[in-house]
Amino acid sequence: MAEPGDIAIGIDLGTSYSCVSIIESGKTTVIPNEWGERTHASVVSFLEDGTVLVGNSAKRNIITNADNTVYSAKRLIGRFYFSDEVKKAQAVMPYKIIEGENNSVRIQIRENVYSLPEISALVLKEMKAIVENYLGHEVKKAVVTVPAYFNDNQRQATKDAGRIAGLEVLRILNEPTAAALAYGFGKDITQKIAVYDLGGGTFDISILEIGKDVFEVLSTAGDTYLGGDDFDDRIMTWLAEGFLKQNGIDLRLNKYCLQMLKEASERAKIDVGRDASAKIHVEGICQDPNGKVMNLDATLSEAEFNRMVMDLVQRTFKVCDEALQSAKMTAQDLDAVILVGGPTRLPIIRTSVKHYFGRDVMAGIDPDEVVAMGAAIQANSLQDAKSEHYLLDVTPLTLRVGTVGGYTDKIIDKNTPIPIERSKSYTTNRDGQERVKIRVYQGEANKAAECEMLGEFEFSGFRIGYRGEVRIEVTFEIDTNGIVNVTAADVETGQKTSCTIRLSSGLTEDMIKAAQEKNSRTTLARGEAAA
């Protein structure tokens, strides 16, 4: 049995909500906070007095303290400042998104500037505090989940967030894999299953084969630009257009009106899913040019809602096609389909999934909690040398290196089991060359511009010789976290060369240290139970 201080927790760090779980006397338990809430809004609100509020009580500040309340940070983590996702966020988020060094994204709150891992670290700190409060002692280790389709930059940034929060991150685990683990663990079943994971901001599908003690991911595919938020956006557009037509006022032009609109849309989505119709009423959403206060009123029917989001739902099935094809399977070969993520509660999703896979979805799985539970199981087994089961996971994206003319060359294919490594030889192309520069990408296009750049690796310290004389073997490794490591060695001398890794948006060791300082000094305010 592990020491109490050695307990490792499982954290589902979601776009909209997070959840934390541990194994307690052999049982997987989701830990509620002091108000009994089992899932916690991934919202961080910076209060005037310097304290920070995280969770459902912070979520209520999105409107009242809009400039200083950060939500959906996961949509931005590990992205470049120039990416479309960041541009889109800047248009709709009330908090200030600014550019940091090396094309990174930073968030400005009053006079303070935060990196995205620092924001996520505050959510993780809250999850850690919830468990510590429950157990009455400190916890130091965690497994943190990410969408399976997250690239290296996003995984690395999430791992940094864990470290900043004072956690030893035992593993970055894929969300669908965690869900499959929670579903199949200890059941002694042999099945081929699909995990359909539609979260707040991302969509993943994984195909797995599970046996008594083995969980093998056969393929995974996803879309990190598709989630429940996009469903809210559709309702928002519909409401705003309707209001514009009726009153000649565009609510989207004011960030405060926009937040109220967003909140109303999210509520309408949940209501329409549960009651087949939603009444929307927002008191005093804006004022007309004469200063008269106006209300927003509308009724959303299920048919109307389904029509609005049908193309989004269809998009998920394109991704499912891809995953099944990679696994060399058809929907008929599957034994079970598991739904994960809040939006999968919507009837439109449930019926469409049922139709696509030609079978009923697995009942009795809580789509909000199953990922955290899987993370807790894995956290526990990584601490236990006698653990019997093992996960065989894959890398979701093809790893590539840049070649001449803006093209790339494949190094490691997508859906390759990890950990894995592959070496490639390079020769110098100038006399007396001292450095070799390699650009590394992830993506499915052979043009570099259509892939995500992970970084530029510069090697130096090898022998200096004539052109073509020095051969350097570069080894690309993808570890069990799905994180890429690159090393190089001089082929003839076997001497490892020094390697500077410049991940354009990543944090340096010094920055992480400083952030850890800042994080440990930050006091989390205790909010109150959500109404």
Binding site: L170, D384, Y390, K410, I420, R422
Partner: protein, 178 residues
């Protein structure tokens, strides 16, 4: 961890670079796909790094990691029929030592191969395409002439040669029917 395993792991790490993928997975060269899968599961059960996460960093842990990466590499190659066939030919061939680790042709090499197929010279390509049209129209004698012409521009193109021979055979068959 038991001592026998430690000795086995260290010994395996020593000779890892001399083993082919069949040896890494401890299976015969004629193993069936289910055999390969169960061997992969068996070796994963023994060497998956998750099972050694509590092991302190060091030589043993590093070697286990290296072995497991090779197990994955072997599985990726042998589970794919096309790759497996090519790999088997590689390790049975004279350059076995150099080809123990399977390397796929890069996209550029594949492009080159593809080009080779339809010709690398404009004239070669022109006669080759004309030959293909003749083949489709069952004008085998004319096709053979066109492929021969194509070969004068690219005497070493294996694809042109194959097509010439194919056309040649079909002419004979054609004659015999008549």
């Amino acid at each position: 961890m038991d001592e026998a395993f430690e000795i086995e792991a260290q010994a395996l790490a020593q000779v890892l670079d001399e083993l082919d993928y069949f040896q890494v997975l401890k299976i015969g060269q004629n193993a069936s796909p289910p055999d390969i899968k169960s061997a992969y599961y068996r070796e994963s059960r023994a060497y998956h790094p998750d099972r050694f996460s509590t092991l302190p960093a060091g030589d043993l842990k590093e070697n286990i990691g290296r072995i497991y990466k090779r197990i994955n590499e072997a599985y990726v190659c042998l589970r794919d029929d096309t790759k497996r066939t090519k790999y088997l030919a590689d390790v049975l061939g004279p350059e076995r030592q150099k080809k123990l680790r399977f390397v796929e042709a890069s996209e550029q090499e594949l492009k080159k191969e593809k080009e080779q197929e339809v010709g690398t010279t404009p004239q070669g390509r022109k006669f080759y395409m004309a030959g293909l049209t003749d083949m489709a129209a069952q004008r085998f004698a004319s096709a053979e002439r066109n492929f021969k012409m194509a070969l004068t521009y690219e005497p070493n193109n294996p694809n042109f040669k194959a097509k010439r021979d194919e056309a040649g055979k079909l002419i004979k068959n054609d004659m015999s029917i008549r």
